[in-house]
Amino acid sequence: MALSALRKPRVRMTQLQKKEAKWGLLFLTPWMIGFLAFYFLPMLASFAFSLMNFNPAVPDEAAFIGFQNWKQAIITDKEVLLSFIRTIKFAGISLPITLGFALFLAIILNSKNVMGKALYRTLFYMPSTIPLVATVLIWNGVLSEQTGWINVIIQKLTGIQVVGTEGLRWLADPRLIYYTYTMFGLWGVGNAMIIFLAGLQGVPTEYYEAAEIDGANWLQRLYKITIPLITPVIFYQLVLGVITTLQYFLAPFVLNQGTGFPNGMTRFFMVYFYKQSFTFFNMGYGATLAWIMFIAALILTITLFGTAKYWVYYAGGERK
């Protein structure tokens, strides 16, 4: 082929490429505007707010105060660290239980031994579609220490006196409250279950056949094949779960208006942020708390990604 023939299309290609890029950017416009207007600029502004003393009720009194808010949040105001620790403790209880339960359900629903899988899948998923406020209120009733069915059933089955104020006080006992909140969360297990199920279905059946020939039992197959192969899915769920739990707000607010009942246990970080920002309207301080949450989320995410190479298995070393 002649050189000129090669050259000509190249020039035309770049023009075409430019045109293509222009069109592409045009289609990306909604996102780019949204990114600037609702993510990037507000984040910067949020940082600027954190250096100010600002209350929208008295906007004239707004003043630049340097890092005073940060100093207060990190050193003086013990509630910041305490609410953060509570959040982490709750995450430490709820995430393993929730993800474990989701995985367990997925394994059952993936088993060739279960009859009528589609029906169970639908029914296990169904509560996830219920608005969380309704979920919290329904569980609040069923766990009620006097009239709730859970206590009545436990008492009937075990014969131990658990009904009443001396019994299992799911909603008022500081030792139980994180488990109670975790139970609310189990009703939202559907998404995680479906994602795990899809992950399990992606495990090549030859592996199981080979293992069976080698005489591996069910438990060995689970630990040596299934779990390692779906670690990417577990990892994804874990990252998402940490970020979501860090912002946990709804149940403490719906049940106790964010008072932290019982014993301050449910005054999580987001609850405290809401109080400062939208009850007391200390928006400068609120912005500081929000930035602290952002930094915490970033550190946690980076840490999780850092641990990934020790336990997350990517087939063929390839990562998407």
Binding site: E20, A21, W23, G24, L25, L26, F27, L28, P30, W31, G34, F35, F38, Y39, L41, P42, A45, S46, F49, I108, L109, N113, V114, G116, T122, L123, Y125, M126, T129, I130, P131, V133, A134, L137, I138, G141, V142, S144, G148, W149, I150, V152, W187, I194, I195, A198, Y236, I243, Q247, F249, L250, M270, F278, M283, A287, L289, M293, F294, A297, K320
Partner: protein, 354 residues
Amino acid sequence: MTGKILTSRKPLTRKIKNRIIAVLVTSLTIAILVVFLIPMIYGIVTSLKTEGQFAKVGAPWWPATEGQYEYEGESYEVFKVPIDGEIKKMALVVKGRGQSQLVDIDNPEAGLIVWDGEWRQLEPIWEFDPQWGNFLEAWNTINFPRLLGNTFMYASITTFGAVLSASLVAYGFARFRIPKKSILFMLMLSTVILPSAVTLIPMYFVFLQFGWVGTWLPLIVPAFFSWGTNVFLIRQFIMSIPRGVDEAAMMDGAGPFRIFFSIIIPQSVPALTAVALFHFFYAWNDFFGPLIYLAGNPEKYPITVGLTAFNRLYAQSFNLIQAAALVTVIVPVIIFFFAQRFFMQGIVITGIEK
């Protein structure tokens, strides 16, 4: 079927063993499912009880009222009465200490029968008596039509905005060569894990300046500027549509918008449906945003915030709370049962491929 051929080659004991395992695992699944759904059953049963039933010792677990019997124009409570060596259903007409007068409801012609014993120790007859009126009462007290209307308006407008904007952006990411595209894409995905609080205060401040606080606008407008997960889901789907079709259309002189609307959109219906469903559910569930932007405007509340306010006022009326909670459940659950397939597919695309 292949399964049958395989198993028929196995020894008989193996077959029996597999059958036993199947029965055990299935029973275990059903048992877990029952426990899992107990709160739902509790909610339904409780929503149909009278408020008085909670306080009565010995009341049954199902919605019931103490049986009544009409005798000579008056209504009397019915008890199980041990009399003449058998237990009869009798209405208590004249209450007395140590001695009462009752009437046998299976044989009222016999007239009043004197019975020796303490009537307070008699067991009442409970009759199944669901209080459907609780739903009506909850419906009216909380002004459900308005809450549902608000929620429906919010959910539909933002769903439209979310699907439209996300599909435009997804098309841009899927089909065009743009410099630094992968960086932009990563940037978009990273917004998914950004805690919403970090942008909230400046946005609240700006919306306050616009005079938008106290209206739905701060909640509706951002939905038209596309969210990361939605774009991701649609992009993955568009990438699986063969390019041949849009290239052919391009040869015929169709511009990108034409291709988008007449080729990409019709082919991406499953992904668009999934995004629409997710967004609709998200909006139906949304609590924090409306709580902040609509504070103090109860006539604009969505169902979630309205239900919370209701719970605060009627915390002691277990039956009404459950009835109100169940009303909010109906719409999403019905949609879910009809649109399951799209749901599950959408979850799988966003969850696995990321």
